[in-house]
Symmetry: C2
C-alpha cells in the first residue's frame, strides 16, 4: 500500500512538472485575452481576409480575436468605435485608418494606457503606433510590370488605367511605369487613363486606347473595377487574348474573369498576412517577448519593425481557385 | 486497493492528456532543429546584434540558432559556406548577402530542397527567398531629418556628409534631404560632402563646411566613421553644441561621443529585430503555420510578407547606455 502511495505521489509530482513546463511556453496565451481589429466601412469583403489572418494567429496563441468597425468610411464614426474598444481595456488593437491624422489622438491614448496598437492596410504614420503592416503600392505596381513583361515576352506597347490623384493608385502606376522603363527596354507605356474607380468609365477609357493604339498588347489596371471595365471593352472589341489585362485585387468579378481567361492575372494583396502578423506583433508586445535592448519602454525605443510590406502575389488561371473567399 | 489503482490510472490518463496538450503548442519546437545565420565579414560587431535577436527567438521556440559566415566580404567564400550549411539540411537559413546575385543560385537550391531561406540586412531580391528584413535607408534618413529638425527647432542651415555613389548611403541622404524639403520649410541643406567612409576625410570635409558656412547649425553623417570625423572637426573648431551632429549606427566610438555630448544623436538600425523576426518567419514556414491560402506551396504563392523595414531608433544621451553591446 505504501509503495502504491509513493507511486501516486511520484506521478503527481511528474504531472505538476509537466503542467508547469506547459505553462512556461510563452506563446500560450490566456484564453481571456481579447485582441480587437478595428476597421472603417466594416462590411466590405476586403477586411474578411485580414480578419481571417488575425483569427488564425489568435487561435495558435490561444487568445481571442474580435472584429469591429465603423459601418461607414467615416473617421469620426471610427474614432467613436476606437474609444469604445479602448474602454474595454483589450490586450491589443489592430486598426486600419479611415484618415491618417484623425485617428492619431485615440491611438496615442490607447498606447499611453498600455494597450499595444499596430496599424494595417491604411496607416497613421504620425501616431505612436508600433508598426504599420500593409502593401507597398509602388512594389505592387513593379510586380504587375514584371508579370506583364513575362506575359508579353518583354516587348510591346502597354497602357495603364488608374485613379488619377489618389495616392495608392498613383504609386501603383509609378511602380509599374518605372519598372518597365528600367528593366524592359523593349516595352513602352503608350497611354495612361483615369477610370476613376468606375467600371463603365474604365470600359470607355480602354475602348479609346484600343482604337487609338492598334499595336496595344497589354493593359494594367490599378483598381479592380478598372479591370472589369477593361475586360468588357476588350470583349467588345473581340480582342480577348490579343490584349492581355493585369488587374488588381481579388474581388469575385475579377476572379471569375481570370477563370474565364479574359483577365490574364491580378495582383493580390497580402490581406491574410496583415492580420496574421498584426496579431503576432501585438502578442509579442503584450507578452513582453521582444527585447532589442533592456528596458526599451522607458527609453523611447520601438522594439518592433516600423513598416512591413505585406507583399503581393500574382493570381492566374492556375491558382485562382485558392483566392475565392470561403 | 482497487480504488487506489483506479486513481493511479486516472492520474496517468490526466498526465498523458497534459503531455499531449503541451506537445500541441505549435510554437514549441524540437530542440534538435537547427537554424543557421550566414554572414560575410563574419567577425564584425554589427552582426552580433542580429544574431542576438535570432538566438532570443530560438530560445523562445526551444530550437537551436547557429552562427556561421565567410571571414571575408567575399561572395565566393560565402557561397562555399552556404553550400556547407545546405548540406547539413538545417531547419532554416537567415542569410545576409555579400552580393545580391552571387548568392541567388545556392539560395534557390536550398529552397528547392525544402529549406526555408530569408535574407536580412543585405538582400538578394531576384532569388526565391521568402522575405527580406532590413533597414529602409530612405526611411532612416527621414528619421534623421525629423530628429535634427527637432533639435534645431525647425530652422537653420545643415550639411550632409555621405559616401557618394554607394546606394545605401545615397538613400539615407535622399530621405534626409527630401524630408527637410517637404516638412521643414525653414531648414536648408547648404552643403553635401563625400567622406568616403573615412574618419580623416570626414574631418576635412566638415572643417571645410564650418569655414564656408558660419551659420551652419547641424550635420547629418550617413556613416559611423563620418560621425566620428565630424566630431573631431567640430571639437577642433570649438563648436561643440553650436553645431549638432546626427550620426549613423552604434559603434562604440559613436556611443562614447554621444555620452560625452559631442554627437547629439545617432540612428540605430534594428539589428536585433532582423534576427528575431528572421528566426520567427523561418519557424513559421518550417512548422507550416502561415496559410494565407490552402496549398500555397504548390501554387506559386509566397505566404510571408515580402519586405520588412526593421526600422530605426534615435540614440541620445538619455538612452545611449542601452545600446552598448554586452
Amino acid at each position: 500500500m505504501k509503495k502504491v502511495l509513493s507511486i501516486v505521489c511520484l506521478i503527481l509530482v511528474l504531472a505538476t512538472t509537466v503542467v508547469s513546463a506547459a505553462a512556461k511556453n510563452v506563446f500560450a496565451g490566456n484564453p481571456k485575452e481579447e485582441y480587437y481589429m478595428v476597421t472603417f466601412a466594416s462590411g466590405i469583403e476586403y477586411w474578411r481576409g485580414c480578419f481571417k489572418g488575425m483569427q488564425d494567429a489568435a487561435k495558435l496563441f490561444g487568445v481571442r480575436a474580435i472584429y469591429t468597425g465603423a459601418p461607414q468610411a467615416d473617421v469620426n464614426q471610427e474614432v467613436t468605435v476606437l474609444e469604445q474598444v479602448i474602454a474595454k481595456k483589450p490586450a491589443g488593437i489592430a486598426i486600419t485608418c479611415a484618415n491618417p491624422d484623425g485617428l492619431r489622438a485615440p491611438i496615442n491614448k490607447a498606447i499611453a494606457a498600455g494597450i499595444p496598437v499596430v496599424t494595417f492596410d491604411a496607416d497613421s504614420p504620425n501616431s505612436n503606433r508600433y508598426c504599420y503592416l500593409g502593401t507597398s503600392n509602388y512594389n505592387a505596381g513593379a510586380a504587375a510590370a514584371r508579370y506583364i513583361a513575362k506575359l508579353l515576352g518583354g516587348q510591346g506597347e502597354v497602357a495603364v488605367s488608374t485613379v488619377t490623384g489618389q495616392l495608392n493608385h498613383e504609386e501603383r502606376k509609378s511602380g509599374f511605369v518605372d519598372t518597365l522603363a528600367k528593366s524592359f527596354p523593349n516595352m513602352k507605356v503608350v497611354a495612361v487613363g483615369n477610370d476613376n474607380n468606375d467600371q463603365t468609365k474604365a470600359a470607355t477609357v480602354i475602348a479609346g486606347f484600343l482604337q487609338a493604339r492598334p499595336n496595344l498588347k497589354g493593359v494594367f489596371c490599378t483598381d479592380a473595377l478598372g479591370g472589369v471595365g477593361a475586360a468588357a471593352a476588350i470583349r467588345e472589341a473581340n480582342a480577348i487574348g490579343k490584349v492581355k489585362i493585369v488587374s488588381f485585387d481579388t474581388d469575385k468579378g475579377t476572379l471569375d474573369l481570370i477563370k474565364e481567361g479574359v483577365i490574364s492575372a491580378s495582383i493580390a494583396q497580402g490581406t491574410w498576412s496583415m492580420g496574421y502578423w498584426s496579431m503576432t506583433f501585438l502578442y509579442n508586445i503584450k507578452h513582453n517577448l521582444v527585447k532589442p535592448v533592456d528596458g526599451w519602454r522607458s527609453k523611447d525605443i520601438n522594439p518592433l519593425p516600423g513598416v512591413v510590406d505585406t507583399g503581393t502575389n500574382v493570381v492566374t488561371k492556375s491558382n485562382v481557385d485558392a483566392f475565392y473567399s470561403k
